[in-house]
Amino acid sequence: MSGGSGTRNTNTEPWGSFDDHLIQGSGAAVIDMENMDDTSGSSFEDMGEMHQRMKEEEEVTAEAAATDDDTHDDGEFLGMKGLKGQLGRQVADEVWQAGKRQASRAFNLYANIDILRPYFDVEPVQVRSRLIESLIPVRMINFPQKIAGELYGPLMLVFTLVAILLHGMKTSDTVIREGTLMGTAIGTCFGYWLGVSSFIYFLAYLVNAQITMLQMLSLLGYGLFGHCVVLLITYNIHFHFLFYVLWLLIGGLSTLRMVAALLSRTVGQTPRLLLCGTLSLLHMLFLLYLHFNYHKIVEGLLDSLDGPHMAPMQRVARDVAELTLNASVRSLGVTLRAQ
């Protein structure tokens, strides 16, 4: 990476880039074959990256020089300090420098993407099967169940849930400022996903369950698939009985699946009860909350934000006892009521 880093390939065709390298003339015409498959056409970013890499190299060289000096100085005292301390210090130095380099690289956007990339390494077939599996609880609690550590599916499900929530707020004739709707939807979904994942992870850490944060995020994220399905259906067909059936059936299945996975990774009665009870309670209540209680919360928030002098929001009750249908199918509802 050091010699050829000055030049970077920006062409699609494998051998079309020779002239670029020759023009730039950074000492030698060295081809960086690692970047051969990069088709990005903007030289802008490439320049930035080049600059960044050159700077990193400089830092590394400077550090290496500093270490050399240090070791040289210490070499004179070798007899006094002993070999052991010397070695320990050197190793600690190296580890610290490697860590520092890693940290400084983490600030770079592209390097950040590279860090995250393994979590997005999925095929469409895998995502589909995981979505289906998220609704199928597995009755195997003696042996730790496999939980895929992946973030593509959960992230997309959260965004889908945001879109569904927005849709639900609009069809429910809620007259609130749009920006607030949008922000609330995003805040609710991401807040639930990240917040509950970290909370359950914290609990799992306390009771010594074998689960990582990544697995927890993935598990809970795929658990939102049931929520998406239920809300998509019930935001369009406002029918209490249907919602309760779906809530128990689909929401329950997705909760059971998560509970089974957690059970298989926890040991002992009390920890299992604590962990799974908390998770299932939160997960099922969240669905109820999204369906019913959303408006009041939003109104309360707005009131507290805007002060008491604000006029009360004009709104229409969405969930009335009788069969009420969406605007798109309202004509059907009228005929039903007439009969």
Binding site: L22, A28, V122, E123, Y152, F159, E178, G179
Partner: protein, 235 residues
């Protein structure tokens, strides 16, 4: 082919890049061909294309022509790389502002709260495209950040057109017929937007993951299309 892998490994040893070049052996059955151009006079390109002493009008017109050219590319999405090669964000900005202004003044706004609607459109468009771009990067796409932003921004155009049509329809009447017309127009333009952006973006993705990249694009245009469809002017 084998020789390519061989060169790849040898060239990455960057400390002595041409160390192994002396014993390159190319097998007999692979013909070696291609042309190597010597780039002596290529700095001339910069000199003949000077914009320093041309009238401002020409500069602006040239940029506008470039933007219009890209609009045509979106309207007729054949798999060309013109939209990708020289990206700009003028078109997306123009479209985004137009859409936001047209969505302004709906029934959802109160008299004194016109701002958030405008801001919402802006936030959805820009953050949405940034998220899609990051997603495609994470899935291993080889397109650059701004190229993707450019494509996604330009592909809002069918939906902006649909918004204009919707406002015209709403001027006339607001019954079931008008809703049906708007539904058809918005659905068509939504499909158009998704198709056009996919045509441009799909080539840069690994072939087995196109569905994963298309899904957020679909969601993005769906939300915008939904906003256009549910728009109703204040009385």
């Amino acid at each position: 082919p084998d020789w390519f892998h061989w060169t790849r490994t040898s060239f990455t040893e960057a400390s002595r890049p041409f160390a192994g070049l002396s014993d390159v052996s190319i097998s007999e059955d692979i013909p070696v061909e291609g042309d190597i151009s010597v780039p002596v006079g290529s700095s001339r390109r910069d000199e003949e294309f000077s914009t320093l002493d041309e009238p401002v009008k020409e500069t602006i017109l040239r940029d506008l022509r470039a933007v219009g050219n890209k609009f045509i590319h979106v309207l007729y999405p054949k798999r060309s790389s013109a939209l990708l090669r020289d990206w700009d964000l003028w078109g997306p900005l123009l479209l985004c502002v137009t859409l936001a202004l047209l969505l302004q003044g709906g029934a959802a706004d109160n008299d004194d709260q016109g701002g958030p609607q405008f801001a919402e459109v802006f936030v959805i468009v820009w953050f949405g495209s940034i998220i899609i771009t990051l997603n495609s990067k994470l899935l291993g796409g080889t397109i650059s950040f701004f190229q993707s932003l450019c494509v996604l921004g330009y592909c809002i155009m069918p939906l902006t057109v649909a918004m204009i049509v919707c406002r015209l329809v709403l001027l006339g009447s607001s019954g079931t017929v008008s809703f049906a017309v708007r539904l058809i127009v918005v659905t068509a333009s939504f499909g158009w937007s998704t198709f056009a952006s996919t045509a441009f973006l799909a080539d840069s993705q690994p072939p087995n993951r196109k569905a994963l990249v298309v899904y957020p694009v679909f969601l993005f245009y769906f939300v915008i299309g939904w906003m256009v469809l549910t728009f109703s002017p204040s009385q």
